[in-house]
């Protein structure tokens, strides 16, 4: 029996009368890498926003380490140990990578109880050691993404949510990210990723859930998912169409 660290209970979400999804039940175990895939607009990012507290779900609960965190302010959730990397890269551009890390360490980093990396380790892991004093504004896109990962790591989180980290990156860079995520998982950080690239999912995820048309249509290991009929229907167009 593994520990459940994050539990989504019957989540229902919608905007202005338009229902996005309902009956979402996902439980995430400590230390695993969970992939979330789904077509565009199926609500993956919204799901992240609910976990982070940016949105409040219409009904249902988010339970983190046995505690109901639904509707709590985002910064409080971050201080409990949930880190996040955005799909759009948003490092603090007026600061250097080092300052980005420091500010995260000084805020959420103080109260989170995840595995702790020292600042040097984080810089090392994210390949930023020699760029730590350049203003982030002047860095390239892959480096900015690294800054974001570094910032999330500096919070000492127990869970990190990665929203399409491979978006806009090329082959080798994606490989680096995959290696990094595996390393983090080995250290005991739970990782949830949203991805479009199936190789990525197949390579690193322990388990995958598939969101489609407002509900959870499949759950299982990457191999099971790839051969699941419903998933193939959803992605390649179903027979009923």
């Amino acid at each position: 029996m593994k520990d459940t660290i994050l539990q989504l209970d019957n989540l229902e979400m919608g905007f202005g009368g338009l229902k996005l999804f309902s009956d979402i039940n996902i439980s995430v175990e400590k230390g695993e890498i969970l992939g979330i895939i789904g077509t565009n607009g199926s609500g993956k990012t919204t799901l992240f926003n609910i976990i982070c507290g940016i949105y409040t779900p219409l009904s249902g609960k988010v339970v983190y380490k046995g505690e109901d965190i639904t509707g709590i302010a985002p910064h409080q959730i971050a201080r409990k140990g949930i880190g996040r990397c955005f799909q759009m890269v948003v490092p603090f551009e007026s600061m250097t990578p080092l300052e980005n890390i420091k500010v995260a360490r000084a805020n959420a980093g103080k109260s989170c109880k995840g595995p702790e990396f020292s600042i040097e380790e984080i810089l090392e892991l994210t390949n930023l050691t020699d760029k730590k004093d350049i203003t982030t504004n002047n860095l390239s896109l892959p480096d900015k993404k690294n800054v974001e990962i570094a910032r999330a790591l500096a919070c000492n989180p127990e869970i990190i949510l990665f929203d399409e980290v491979s978006c806009g990156l090329a082959g080798e860079e994606i490989r680096e990210r995959m290696a990094l995520m595996k390393k983090l998982a080995e250290k005991g950080i739970t990782i949830i990723v949203i991805e479009h690239i199936m190789v990525f999912i197949k390579e690193i995820c322990d388990r995958v859930v598939v969101l489609h048309a407002g509900s959870l249509i499949a759950e299982g290991t990457p191999d099971e998912i790839i051969h699941n009929e419903k998933v193939i229907d959803a992605y390649l167009g179903g027979r009923e169409l």
Partner: protein, 330 residues
């Protein structure tokens, strides 16, 4: 990094020079000495404004409120004949304006928007009118405050200016200052690393308000007389804000340079254009020109120029340039 430090040391040298000047002229109350000290008061207030206005990006049009609170905390007891030692009133004035800032942050800073801008302007109007019209607060005729010899006061004010600049430099490079900048850069991401947006903004406002009230307090000692028109007037808020913006908000030395530039230009224009309100034309045009040509203010533009030249010529030229530049702009 090293160059930055050098520039800072240079600016600190300038301020020390000003202190020397103030001391020199303080003895016979020369116009220049008192003018330099007057500028220093606005530099302190500008640092207070800059914490929220520059580092977080919420423009306040009503910092005169804190300025006035500082001045009146000294003046009111003395107006009623109550004798409180000056250090006590100083602490009191900073405390009161800090608490007041805390109180107004709740309605004005909870959401991102124009609430803060309009609200602070409104508070300025409220305070000005309340102090002007109520006899208990000595209305328009104002209050005289205890006399402190300029020989003591002028160097003191210049000293406080330097301490304030150093304190703010330290503050903005500390973790709290980094949080301020994080909130300005990407509020959404700042939340994701556990920063409470409202609380951080409030901290900036409260610390800034205390610094500004310090300026007001010193102003009261400096002018020996406090009246609503000299402390709560929107013109005071405008000078504080203009100085920071023209100099380059979000930097420590920007408000220092900008504040000096603004006060000097304003006084020159006021003596050149004798029609009431005419000097605003110079200020207005200058503001438009500065904002259109160098969006980040004079200081940041100079820094960029220095960087460029430094890359071309090597680091030796970096030290001399700002002096010439500021002279030209003045």
């Amino acid at each position: 990094m090293n160059k930055k430090r050098m520039l800072r040391a240079f600016a600190a040298g300038l301020i020390i020079f000003a202190a020397y000047l103030a001391y020199l002229h303080g003895s016979n109350m020369s116009y220049y000495a008192s003018f330099i000290v007057y500028i220093c008061l606005f530099l302190i207030a500008g640092q207070g404004w800059n914490l929220l206005g520059g580092y977080i990006g919420e423009i306040s049009f009503g910092h005169a409120v804190f300025f006035g609170i500082g001045a009146y905390t000294l003046a009111l007891p003395s107006g009623y004949g109550i004798d409180i030692p000056i250090p006590v009133t100083l602490v009191l004035s900073m405390l009161i304006s800090g608490l007041f800032a805390l109180a107004i942050s709740y309605p004005l800073l909870r959401i991102r928007g124009l609430n803060f801008l309009v609200g602070t302007f409104g508070l300025g109007v409220v305070f000005l009118n309340v102090f002007k019209s109520s006899k208990q607060l000595f209305a328009n005729k104002g209050v005289f405050v205890p006399f402190v010899s300029p020989q003591v006061l002028y160097p003191l004010i210049v000293g406080v200016t330097i301490i304030t600049v150093i304190f703010v430099t330290y503050l903005v490079n500390s973790n709290l200052g980094l949080s301020f900048r994080a909130v300005r850069d990407v509020p959404e991401a700042a939340e994701m690393i556990g920063i409470n947006l409202y609380k951080t903004k409030t901290q900036a406002l409260v610390i800034g308000a205390m610094i500004t009230s310090l300026a007001g307090f010193l102003y009261a000692l400096y002018s020996m007389h406090v009246s609503p028109n000299a402390t709560f007037d929107p013109a005071i808020s405008n000078d504080i804000l203009l100085g920071s913006y023209i100099g380059g908000c979000g930097t420590v030395l920007g408000p220092v340079i900008g504040g000096a530039v603004i006060i000097i230009i304003q006084e020159t224009a006021r003596s050149a254009i004798t029609i009431t309100g005419g000097h605003n034309l110079v200020l207005g045009i200058m503001l438009v020109v500065v904002m259109m040509t160098m969006k980040e203010g004079i200081w940041v533009t100079i820094q960029k120029l220095v960087d460029k030249l430094g890359k071309k010529k090597g680091s030796s030229s970096g030290k001399k340039l700002p002096k010439e530049k500021t002279e030209v702009i003045r």
